[in-house]
Symmetry: none
Subunit: 242 residues, 2 copies
């Protein structure tokens, strides 16, 4: 039962770096939480939970991939089902001082769940050999949820509330998070299109194993990046308070 | 020994999300405990214990279900035997400032144990192939305990004491918890009726595996939800103290 990572398998490589970096990020956020001003402690805790939950899933996904060589689709979506809503909670916590309601949080969460449910149907129930119509149909449905989140972050309530805080650190922080959603999250649909029947699979022959390669890279960027943005907001506040 | 979750098995899916979310919730309650006012620290600790005990049971139930495909009835009731009484303790802690006695706590606990003992007999000793008379008899007996808890929460002592606190946060919190008992807890008997011989099994052909599906969903809602209600009461108090 020795962990073996073939030198020429970037997917296995990123499963392992994903696992370690998520774990380390959690330790970082949990420790630093004790230093930041009171009002940011919950946000840092949630950041640590996001990477911590991911670390556990990566531990299982890594082993699953290493022994079967196939995509751990169910584990992947179980991870997202928990971590994406927690990211919505982070948005809510950042905009709460400016008057964000629980309603906004729930709208973000429902859009995220919508996005994930259709993505899951698209991937998990893709017929043997792959079906382009299946993957496109559910991919488009899923994207509607994604676009709604983008709308809220870039033009809707989240944006308006950020401005109302009158706090340049928070405004900048929310802006950065919105960039993560626009650019970082866009890596996921690229991965999705590598599955059998997917556009990138058909057009360029990208292999199904690339699904996990993209997902692993995107997860590291988004989960740790999100947490670091929140962390920076908190640290900025700390140095101002001094 | 790789954890494998079939993509088309929602029961396995919810066992895994249940496990992870309970675990994360405990970490959350344990950390946040340090921030809340002194008088809420015990309540937050109990919230974290409830989800923590559940996380351990889910870890074992998940593996049991994954390798046998059958209902981990004994583990399930072992979990409840510990966590449901702890929920009764939460009610007691919330109403204590208004004069709740240990007697009230014990009445809640005895009703809960009554409910669980008959539920256990109903499920664990259901004859081969399922017996409707068996499941109905013990289901009804169990429900008597459930109804008594509902009575205490909605009309009896818990309700009266909540009003006596004159603290709108606590009144609202207890009201929310009572809704959890009325709606969230009602999901359990639905699961129970899916077992062989149960009404929903006979009437609609709902499968025995749905027992665990309902229990898993209900557990996530009730255990984490209960804890979050208590957490919100504590945080509300914190912001008022400032
Ligand atoms: C749009 C779209 C998708 C988007 C997935 C996203 C945006 C996932 C984000 C996950 C995150 C942020 C996890 C980190 O915790 C899917 C489901 C691949 C299906 C294809 C269409
Ligand atoms: C009424 C009734 C039942 C109720 C079970 C309940 C209400 C369980 C609650 C469990 C909780 C709240 C666990 C969380 O920690 C049974 C036993 C299924 C048997 C059928 C009748």
């Amino acid at each position: 039962d020795v962990v073996t990572i073939p030198v020429d398998d970037p997917v296995a490589f990123t499963f392992f770096t994903g696992y370690m970096s998520m774990f380390a990020a959690s330790v970082f956020f949990f420790f630093e939480r004790s230093r930041v001003p009171e009002k940011w402690k919950t946000s840092l805790l949630v950041s640590g939970l996001i990477t911590g939950i991911a670390a556990v899933h990566y531990y299982y996904m890594r082993d699953y991939y290493a022994s079967t060589g196939s995509n751990p689709t169910a584990l992947r979506y179980i991870d997202w089902t928990l971590t994406v809503p927690l990211m919505c909670v982070e948005f809510y916590l950042l905009t709460k001082p400016a008057g964000a309601t629980k309603g906004l949080m729930w709208r973000l969460i429902i859009a995220a769940v919508w996005m994930l449910v259709f993505g899951y149907i698209g991937e998990a129930f893709n017929p043997e050999g792959g079906s382009t119509s299946h993957s496109v149909t559910y991919g488009v449905l899923s994207t509607l949820g994604y676009v709604y989140i983008l709308y809220l972050a870039w033009m809707g309530e989240v944006k308006q509330l950020a401005e109302k805080t009158n706090n340049p650190t928070i405004i900048r922080g929310i802006r950065t998070l919105s960039w993560f959603i626009l650019v970082g999250w866009a890596i996921y649909p690229i991965g999705y299109m590598c599955m059998p029947g997917g556009w990138l699979n058909i057009a360029f022959g990208w292999q199904p194993s690339a699904v996990d390669l993209f997902y692993n890279i995107a997860d590291a960027i988004n989960k740790i990046g999100f947490g670091l943005v929140v962390y920076n907001i908190a640290i900025d506040d700390l140095s101002k308070a001094k």
